[in-house]
Every structure is written in structure tokens, then in C-alpha cells.
């Protein structure tokens, strides 16, 4: 216990500031209503859907909750059920097997809701394009609000993407 506390004290706050500069990684497809922005801007629950990715994007997404990126400081956290979610974070080219699951997840999420598609595959199907196992990019299956490009995108890009979807930059 004392060593643990000592370590906690020594490290202090590990969270890094988020760079405000706009990147070209984030592509906004649809503008969010002002009302939704006000509502979800301060408290956002994410359900992650792996629709067939290589798990590269998942590694980066997992990093969002660690002390360095700490998505919770923006009121962003991950939840277990789409019923609790406000935003679906979809990765990967949508495989045939995950097509129904993705649709059902979208269906199960209460309104108002947003969809952020993560990674190059989600937009273009990447190297999997043309495969018999692929149903198409994410926007072919469910309406997408924001694309975050990258293979895989960095956690900071993900945060920017999500915050762009809400059109809200962190203060300071």
C-alpha cells in the first residue's frame, strides 16, 4: 500500500493535453444538430463495434481510456450495451457475418445517436476491398457521421474525431 501510494504521488497526472490543431484525418459527413451537441457534448457513452477489423484500430481505441489519453476527462466513456450508448465507434470493413450485427446494434441504440467510423478500412475497405467476405464500407450499412482516417488512426485522432462529431473542442 505505501509503495503504491508513493508511486501514485510520484507520477502525478499522466494525462496529456490534447492538441487543438485541426488535422486532415477527420472527415465530417453530416453535421450534428445543435440540440444533440448540447446534450451529448458533456456526457458521451460509446459502444464499440468491431465489424471485421484486423484489431489494429482496437488497440488504439483501448488506449483512449488509459491515463495518457484519458477520454473520461471529456465525459467520454465506453459502455457494455448499445442501449446505454450515444455513439457507435465502428471499425473495419464490414464483413458479411457482422453486417446483421452492426445493423442490430444501430437499431438497438436509442436516439439521438451518432456513428463514427474508424480507420481506412471503415471507409474504403482497405486491403480487403473486393473480398467475397466483405459486405461493404460502414456507410453502406449504417449512416455515418464522421470518418477518422488512418491505419490505424492515433488515439489523439480518435479523440478529435469524436469531438468533431460533437463539434466541441475541449476548453483550454
Amino acid at each position: 500500500m505505501p509503495t503504491l501510494l508513493q508511486k501514485i504521488l510520484r507520477v502525478g497526472i499522466a494525462t496529456e493535453q490534447l492538441d487543438l490543431a485541426e488535422t486532415d484525418v477527420v472527415q465530417v459527413v453530416r453535421q450534428v444538430e445543435a440540440k444533440t451537441r448540447r446534450l451529448l457534448g458533456r456526457s458521451l457513452a460509446i459502444r464499440e463495434v468491431d465489424a471485421g477489423s484486423c484489431n489494429g484500430c482496437e488497440l488504439e481505441i483501448t488506449a483512449l481510456t488509459n491515463p495518457l489519453y484519458d477520454s473520461e476527462r471529456f465525459g467520454i466513456h465506453f459502455v457494455a450495451s448499445p442501449r446505454h450508448a450515444d455513439l457507435l465507434l465502428v471499425t473495419g470493413p464490414v464483413t458479411r457475418h457482422m453486417e446483421v450485427a452492426l445493423r442490430k446494434t444501430y437499431e438497438a441504440t436509442p436516439d439521438p445517436k451518432l456513428v463514427v467510423a474508424v480507420g481506412d478500412c471503415a471507409k474504403t475497405c482497405g486491403v480487403f476491398k473486393g473480398s467475397y467476405a466483405i459486405a461493404g464500407s460502414v456507410d453502406r450499412i449504417v449512416p455515418v457521421d464522421v470518418f477518422v482516417a488512418g491505419c490505424p488512426p492515433e488515439p489523439t485522432d480518435l479523440l478529435r474525431g469524436i469531438l468533431t462529431a460533437l463539434d466541441r473542442w475541449p476548453k483550454s
Binding site: 450495451s81 448499445p82 446483421v100 450485427a101 442490430k104 437499431e107 438497438a108 436509442p110 436516439d111
Partner: protein, 678 residues
Amino acid sequence: MMQTLFLLTICAYSLGALGAILGGRGQLGRSLVGALAAIGATAGLLLGLTVIFTGQSFTAFVPALLPVGGGLALRLDPLGAFFLSVIGVVAIPASLYGIAYNEIYESERGSLRLLGAMFNLFLLAMSLVTLADNVFTFLLMWEGMSLTSYFLVITESDEAETIRAGNWYIAVTHVGVAFLVAAFLMLTGNASGAFSDLRVHASNLSPLARDLVFLLTLLGFGSKAGIIPLHVWLPRAHPAAPSYVSALMSGVMIKLGIYGLLRVALDFLGGGPAWWGVLVLVVGSVSAVLGVLYALMEHDLKRLLAYHSVENIGIILMGIGAGLLFHSYGSMSLAVLGLVGGLYHTLNHASFKGLLFLGAGSVLHATGTRNMEEMGGLMKRMPWTALFFLIGAAAISALPPLNGFVSEWLVFQALLKGLNIPGIEAAIAMPLAVGMLALTSGLAAACFVKAFGITFLAMPRSHEAESARESPLLMRIGMGMLAAICVVLGPGAIAVIPLLSRILVGLGGLAEVPVSLTEGVSLQVPTSSSQIALPTLALALLLAIGSIPVILKLLRVNFRLRRSESWGCGLTELTPRMEYTATAFAEPLRRVFAELYRPSKELTIDTHPESKYFVQSIAYRSEITPWFDRMLYTPLLHLIGYIANKIRRLQSGLVHLYLLYLALALMGLIFASRWIER
């Protein structure tokens, strides 16, 4: 007035029995038989209430029909009147319910004549048990009650299981009667069998004889009440009987065991040493905890309820045991507290267990199965049954503000107050009993989440459940009456509890009412007081629950609701086979109490002949044999079988030998009589 009610009770039941024999078939016949039973029960209830309210005992005029053993003597004092009223409370709804339920026996299955006649006679015998005023009448009616209920249990005699259940029942019940006869013989001695003489004679008995009488009574009445380990007939007989009969047997008949215990231990013997109370308390605690633990493992809805009867008898006995213990210490007001708790739980258990059995019967009626694993989704198909069953489930789980909570609260208070009693017995027994009671009520809540949730909620697990229909109106009326009683007896405790403490006045030197009533139930015992006001609580709860939607509306909260399929993690289809089963629900508790259950496991995995990594089928089987079956009854039955085999040699079939037996027996009797005379 009372004589009229009494005659009405007797006549209605008798006419009902007669009518059933002459022709209880068809809509009209069934209605007539059921209506007569209901009339008899109503008259009995009114008679009981009159005696309770006036406090005047009622002596019935009985012509000297039977000259044996002092003939029939009937007198109703407040204690008997309370139990007579309890009979009425369950018998009226059960009779009405039975009219509709009996339709399934219109076909060849079972005999409606026998059923109707035995049902009325059963009610009559039970009523007269509470009225009996001498040993002969009591034992006669007791036996009549057992026999008639035996015939009711084996109504569906086309099933081997039913016959076996009947055998268990009749065997255990007669072992009980043997104990009772012995107890009453000791109590009677040379006196006449009249109860008034027994009281006098009991005070002259030696302490040892008194202890023996008490133990015999506890065993004898305990076998009827269903204390562990004499409860074995309960989980067998209750599922076999028609559901409304189960309601009566479980709701009322086993309570007469409590009546008998109170009558002998408190009224005749006038209380006893502290260990009597401790023994009853221990028996009660063990029955309560084991009853509910075995109930948790049951998936037969009616057997589950039967085990809960064992549990609730345990709770009642905890109250009574605490009462007897306080009585031995001379703190009469605390004794009344414990006894009132026990009595109130008797009434409450009669109402909610009656209700639950009627509910289970309604489900059985609609689906044709008692196996919970084949039910589900009945909430939408049988909304009324579901609502009533839910009320019963909440009441038995002791959730405020329903009636089960009040009586468990009273028993809790009695046990808590017992901590302040100086005396090593109390110091050890009471804290453990408090823990056991709490564990019991927690487990009961878990069990009824299972019973209600698996049976009524989510998706139907079988075709029968899928196509289930709501039960006929009369059945719903029967359930509705008991549900209303469960709700009313919660906040209504204010009115009932003083009556209960008045019933006890005079029994074993107990005096008037320490349970005072101001706003709610408040217990004023010398050292301390605890209070609850259930009407206010119920009102506050209703107001709180009811005002939330209004406040949300005023706050302009989003009220949009969209229906969509259940979230199954993106599954293509969520089927009933994926639902949580009753077995799965109880699994954590089965693991926690694995030492007690000792489940047997059998796992068979069929693999592909080519490779053991390709599994073709997995069969898993797990069974629980209750420990009293394992440790007690199986060896006992073996022993009896062994002895019977040995004794068989006596039956040689030779007439000469039998003549020798006769002569020997005669001589033995002559010697015995000589010896006794001297």
C-alpha cells in the same frame, strides 16, 4: 346466532359431500358442490370471527351420538376460532376456484364424486378439529382430516407418482398420529378425555412426564406441520394433489399442527422449561433455512411452493419458540410478542401460500406442466394470474408493505428483544436465530425472483407455454380474493394484531395486550420499544412511486419509447433456448451451499471417433438428493424392509401355528391385565 352459524357450517359441508356423491358432475353439479363448500367456509369464518371479537367461547350442543370416550364434545375458544377463521380465509377462494378447476376432471381422469365429497368432508373435519373439546373428538377429526386429504392427494390416481406421494403422506401422518395418541394417553391418565380435565391433570404430571408429552406432541404435530425432517411428505403430496387442495393443505391443514402444538404446550401444559422454547426455535430455524434452500433447487413449481411451506412453518415456529422461551423466563409481554408473530405469520402464510398454489394451479391448468423450465412468457398470456402470483411472491418474500413483512418483522423483533434476556440459552440461540431468519428471507426473495421470473417473464420456453390462455373467471376471482387479503393484511396489521394478542389471553397464564397501537404497530415492552407504521409507509411508497412519472412529465422529460428486439449482442436471432433457466438462476447458490446439497454430477461427452477434439454431443446431468432422504429415510426404509423380511417367517400359512399364536396372545393379555390391575 353462533349456533346457527355452527349448524350452517356443518350442514353446508355435509350437503356438499352428499351432493357430490349423488352427482357432482357438469357445470351445475360442480357449482353446487363448490358453492356449498364456500357457504360452509363462510359460516365457519363468521363463527370464528364472532368468537374472536366477543371473546366468548362457544359451546355447541351435540346430541350424544357416540358413547365412546366421552362422546363428541365441541367448544370453540378464541384460539380455535382463530384457526377456524384461517380455514375460512383460504377455503372460500379455494372452493370457488375449485368449481372452475375441476373441469379437467370431467373426463375420466379422477373421480369428481370422490373429489367433491372428500373436499367437503376435509373442510368439515378441519373445522371440527378446531372445535374439538375432548381427546376422542380431536383424534377422530384429526384422523378424518388426514384420511380425507389422503383421498384428495390421490385424485389423479392414474399416475404412479401420485400413488407413491399418497403412500408417503399416509405413512408419515400415521407415525405422527401414533405420537399424538401416546401424548394424549399420558396427558389423560385416569381423567376423562375432556380438555378441561386435561388442564388440571397436566399440572399434576411429573416434570419428566411433561417433557415427554411435549416431545411427543412436537413430533406428532410437527409431522403434520412439516418440520424438518418429518416434512418428507410435503414436497411429494402437494404437487400431486389438485392445486386448490394443495392450497388448503399447505395454507391451512399444516397450520393445524401449529394449533395442536399451541393447544398442548401452552394451554394444557401451561408452558415449560426454557429448553422447550429453544428446541422449538432450533427446529424452526433449521426447517426455515433448509426448507428455502431445497426450494431454491426445485424446478417443479408446486414442489417449490411445498418446500416454502416447510420454510414458513419454520418461521412460525421461530416466533412460537421465542414465545415459549420468554414464557419460561416469565416475561409474559415478550412471550405474547413472539406468539403473536407466529400466529400472524400463520394467517399470512395461509393467505399468500394459498394464493401462490392457486396461481401455480392456474399455470398448470393453462400449460399442463409444473416444470418451470418449460414455462416463460406467461405474463402476456395470463396477465391476471401473473399479477396475483406477483403479489403472492412479493408477500412471501417479506417485501413491505405487504403482509409477509409485518409478521416477519414481529418475529424479528421478538428475537431481537430476546437478546436482552439474561440466560445462556437466549444468548446463544437468539443471535443465530436472527441470522437464520434473515438468511431465510433473503433466500426466499431470491427463490421467488426465480419462480416468478422464469415462469412468467421473457419468452415462452415450450409450445404449451406459447399457447397458454388465461384461466376462467372463477379461478381468477379465487386468486383475486387472496391477493386482496395479502395486500390488506399488510397495513391492516394495526387492526389484526391486537385481536391476536387477545386470543392468547388466558393461555398458560398470558395476560392482555402489550402490543399497543398508536399510529402503526408499536411494540411497548418493558425495556424498549420499536415502531413501524405500515399505513403511512404504504402511502409514502405509493406516493413516491406514483409521483415520479408526474414529476418527469412536468420536467418535460423525453417520453418517447421505441420497441425493438432484445439486445442479444448482435445475434441473428434470440431464441428461448438462450434464456436463463431456473437451474442456471439457482446455480450460484448451489455452489455456495454445495456442502449441503452435494449434487451428483454426470458428464458424458461424445467425441468423433477420429479425433477427441471434435465433440459431437455433451450430456450433463446433475441431481440433488436431500440429505434427510439420503441419511435418514433411505436407511430407515432399508431397515424396515429388512425387519419385515425377517418377520415374514412368522407367516408360515399353517393353521396350527396361527392357533398357537392366538392362544399365546390371549395368555399374554390375561397376564398383562393382571399386572396392570395390581
